[in-house]
Amino acid sequence: MIKVLHAGIYCTVQDLGRIGYAKMGVPQGGALDIFAAKRANLILNQSEAAAVLEITYGQGRFEFTIDTFIALSGGHFSPKLNAIPVEMNKVLSVKKGAVLSFGKRNYGARVYLSVQGGLYSETVLGSKSFYPGLTSAKLAKGDTINLNPTQNILGENRSKLRLDPTHFAASELTCYPGPEYDHLNEVQKERLRQPFTISEDNNRVGYRLNEILANDLQPILTSAVLPGTVQLTPSGKLIILMRDCQVTGGYPRVLQLSDEAVSRMGQKVVGEHVKFCCAEEF
């Protein structure tokens, strides 16, 4: 088991999300930086779909009640086991009673904790991903998280995975013209090619950007939106929808981010800059 000693501001169980329920109005959900979540599992040589903990801003403290192996990937918040700094992207051996904590932020917004066997929690509509109203309450201090039993044997001295750090440093977001991109005029299109700043209004549902595009577009008839859809709101501000977004919306959809760009966004914090880079003519 894992005991939650401190739950931080937003610590949730996540996997790859819910597929096949959108027509009932169910959001896809899943780890915001899905690449980091998968990597944390792959380091432990287990299914990339195993449930992990998504720890926002590295805020949280956890105690392990058994000997096990863990891996951390994603944002770097100076992780420590029993107050001793440990490396990211590496198999870590933990002993019963060990406490995982975090410190100073080096980069990123969310760190993923994968535990050998994967987290065991309720499966709702094919996924363990937390979503308000669908799954049980958010993790809180004093909660315990069960682990799946495993026969998988891991060595301790596995080499560390080397990662290209651009995922965290780069501001470029690969994107495609959205369904209403052609409704924009040349001035608006030109503005879209300039950098934008992330506002403090950012979470698993969406990231609002600060800058304003002069906007005279009419709302559209409510239609589908997807994680990575960039909506232009009546105020002229852009919202980048993230994995917990609704399935439909009424604002013009001007851009669509690649899946990798959604994961990159999920590691951005307020004040950071992003730049849309269209994969096609744009």
Partner: protein, 239 residues
Amino acid sequence: MKRYKLSFKPFGPSALLIEWPEQIDELMIQDVIAFEKVISWEANIADTIIAYNSLTVVFRETYKFEAVVSRFERLYTTKNQGSKQNAVCWQIPVCYDVEFGLDLEELASAKQLSVKALIELHTAPKYLIYFMGFQPGFPYLGGLPEVLHTPRKANPRLRVDKGSVGIGGQQTGIYPQDSSGGWNILGRSPVNFFDVSKLQPCFTKAGDYIQFEAIDKQTFLQIDKQVQKGTYEPKSVKL
């Protein structure tokens, strides 16, 4: 059945947006719903999302736009018979009591109607479910009598209770979960519109109809008890 001119647009590298003419139309939505059934058997589809005049197909991976579009165009002209199939009308009990209908009296007086007349107007139509969205189990309903069209509240409530039935603009609907919301609330239904413990969590679907049925507080409490015990089955009639 009428055939519409469809337009196909890529929606990122792994989704396809199919659009019908820009209108809210009872006949046209049947065509959208029927076509969703046709293409839902195709390979590699992760999700489909129906809306007023669109069908979005999310594939499990990237797809070849031209090839898929020409296949879907062929399916639309050959397979989409669009006959209205097995439509049912769900009888949804609603308690229009001021305890639940927070805006009931205010709305009635704004419309210069008695509360009774307001309830009669609201319970008369069979509302068509155009599609599900906004929240798990939230039906977008069409057919609200024009006299009941009411702008959303200027200050949305931070909490609207699950089951609340309200009016926002030209729409009426039910909040399937506790949420914030700006609709004018007329009453509450004890029915659970999204039950994750069920194999089929959502009993309503696009193309079905909903008719509200006024119940008193005592009946509300009885049904609520059955819902809690899991013995309540929503009632429907075939159309």
